[in-house]
Symmetry: C2
Subunit: 403 residues, 2 copies
């Protein structure tokens, strides 16, 4: 029998508890032995809940119990999650976490610590919720050099952008509805400003290249500046606005960013709507593969955590290797990153056209019926070239990169 | 160093050879040691090809070489692939294959044989080409009871149906074009009659439930009866015709079939077009997850084979467990399987309407502008009930199930 301790009985932690109980027999068959929850740590009490018999308020009950081989960390936040996980790994326990902040900040250190103790540090649930992506990236795609990763990594913002398109509504009203429905948090900053997606693309990029990406260095732009007019232009172009986390091999370097992009129907990410997430990976041999599913939600995310628990359980005493070292992965300077840009400028066509062509060269005009604006799509240019030209024009209202 | 023997230097076998050479350094890093091709078996000669130095015409050179720990089987067909694979496993070598016929016919026996010798028998490439599906189904989805699998499992037929829709062309002319382009074989029977997809859904279903599905027992219907009029009706319904392999848990049993179905835009398989494949899996905890990519092609399929080689290489001496026993999985009688049906009948509306309502009860009429037909969608009924009602009407031209 494998004994598990769970740190945090919130949404995901209680989901892990429920799955290990409800699917327990099936899981025992697949894991080769029974997996039982021995302790659940939470500061709160849960009177009448089935967790009561295993609930503790003292972390030491888990840390010091040598019968506990696997610890699930579903507390969220950096502290004390980091200290607790470290203490468990130091005692030779394996840890499975859904905590993307912890993984993005401390991944290489915790992976190394697990390795030193022949234990596992696994985090399938930290990216894409229930979508299998971390393990396929490490195993199924191991023959491939990864050329590009591009993902809709945040369900809240994908829901907001989908609703803006379908209802023709503006950002603020859709955000309020999303908050009322529980799809967006009271403080939506981490989602709408792209910080959540940034940590996730940092994790995926680190795994793809085996070296550490400092997520602070990734250019991150949220969706708060996207307006209903942008959506109308996107419709006119036959495209959708999505916020993507992406990283791309450029020469010997990697270029990573999080930003709203225009996606066309020939891209499989185009049809990923609502709260769903998807990650497109391009390998130099396998071509494009995409992984799609629920990027959040109690049981979906908990299922990913439990898949890690089963894998850690099968590898007690040896540990599951994860290729992600502390060596820094150098990112290509953002200024050198290239895209085509959709750009809206204030003023009529006759005001703007020659100014725009002087600055951007040949552009494709986009007419969505607004006579007070002049909008266009540029050729492929660097961020630096875009900034210079936009500065010269002086009347840019908004820009969106084209995927 | 791990030594590999490759049986068959055709499309996939030469792809495996190329990947192990071109991505060799990266693969060595991830596998933990160098993986080198020591022998390639083929009856043909390849003068001037880099395979020449390792080419053999004698299987014994691989079978009897104790330095060869992993054998790649990419010959296709059942014989002598089966005899060769069995001989290799009996000598304790691991085998990685792309041969779906071999896996569908002899899966449990070869898995057991590998297990008895602490070796691996792996077959990621046998379903979905380069798409990671076998390994995720076995590991990432291990916490879940699988409720349903539904897949676009054959690129040739998906290409044909996509072209029929996009060009408004009929089956025969699109098939001829596909043959000219190399997307369909000279004898397209296995693809267009659904036999290929049938073996693939049998493999996936066997893995999902750990018991053996006899693919002969799966109801299989191809796309040869789909006409341009069916596509026009599908357009009218806002749906697409796709040929899907599916299996679904119904009570304690599993219902499996391969057939053309109408798929609506809310299904993520709707946007899988052309030669791409995708597999949608519904777990009782994780919900819907989908895996998408190139279902065929030299390097994509070979990449899946090499991912197995790397995994087998990491598990020399222990073997990678695969949960698929010889115990028979009992399929629900096809007659009891339930669907909604789109049905076309010959004759005008006034000829047919009352006859149809007498036989099928309340139906939704579908008007695509053909006055010589009466078409409709039924409620959810069993196959047996459909057959009885269709017999009573007596004028059915075609029917397509609704996904």
């Amino acid at each position: 029998m494998i004994n598990v301790g769970i740190l945090g009985y919130g949404t995901v932690g209680s989901g892990v508890f429920d799955i290990l109980r409800e699917n327990g027999k099936l899981i025992a068959g697949r894991a080769g032995e029974e997996i039982s929850v021995k302790h659940v740590l939470d500061l709160r009490d849960f009177p009448g809940d089935s967790v009561e018999s295993v609930l503790t308020h003292d972390f030491k009950d888990i840390e010091m119990d040598d019968d506990v081989q696997i610890v699930v960390e579903t507390m969220g936040g950096l502290h004390p999650a980091y200290e607790f996980v470290k203490a468990c790994l130091e005692r030779g326990k394996s840890v499975c976490t859904s905590n993307k902040a912890l993984v993005a900040d401390f991944g290489p250190e915790l992976i190394q610590l697990a390795k030193d103790r022949n234990a596992s540090f696994l985090f399938e649930a930290s990216v894409g919720g229930g979508i299998p992506i971390i393990r396929p990236l490490q195993s199924s795609l191991s023959p491939d050099e990864i050329l590009e990763i591009s993902g809709i990594l945040n369900g809240t913002t994908n829901y907001i952008l989908t609703e803006m398109k379908e209802k023709g509504a503006d950002f603020d009203s859709v955000l309020k509805d999303a908050q009322a429905l529980g799809y967006a948090e009271a403080d939506p900053t981490a989602d709408v400003e792209g910080h959540d997606a940034c940590r996730k693309i940092a994790i995926l990029t680190s795994l793809a290249y085996g070296k550490n990406v400092d997520f602070h260095e990734i250019y991150t732009e949220g969706i708060t500046k996207i307006t209903d007019r942008d959506i109308i232009y996107a419709n006119r172009l036959g495209a959708k606005v999505k916020i993507c986390g992406s990283s791309k091999k450029v020469g010997d370097g990697v270029c990573a960013m999080v930003a709203p992009v225009l996606i066309y129907p020939d891209n499989p990410l185009y049809s990923v709507d609502g709260v769903f997430n998807a990650i497109l990976v391009r390998g130099n041999m396998v071509g494009d593969v995409m992984f799609y599913g629920q990027g959040a939600g109690k049981l979906a995310t908990a299922s990913a955590v439990v898949s890690d628990v089963i894998e850690a359980g099968k590898n007690i005493g040896t540990g599951v290797p994860v290729q992600w070292t502390a060596e820094k992965l150098s990112l290509v300077s953002f200024e050198e990153s290239k895209s085509r840009f959709f750009v809206r400028t204030a003023g009529t066509k006759s005001d703007s056209e020659s100014k725009v062509r002087d600055a951007f060269g040949d552009v494709e005009e986009v007419d969505a019926g607004f006579s007070d604006e002049y909008a266009f799509v540029t050729g492929e240019i660097t961020e630096a070239a875009y900034e210079k030209a936009a500065g010269a024009v002086g009347t840019v209202i908004n820009k969106i990169r084209i995927s």
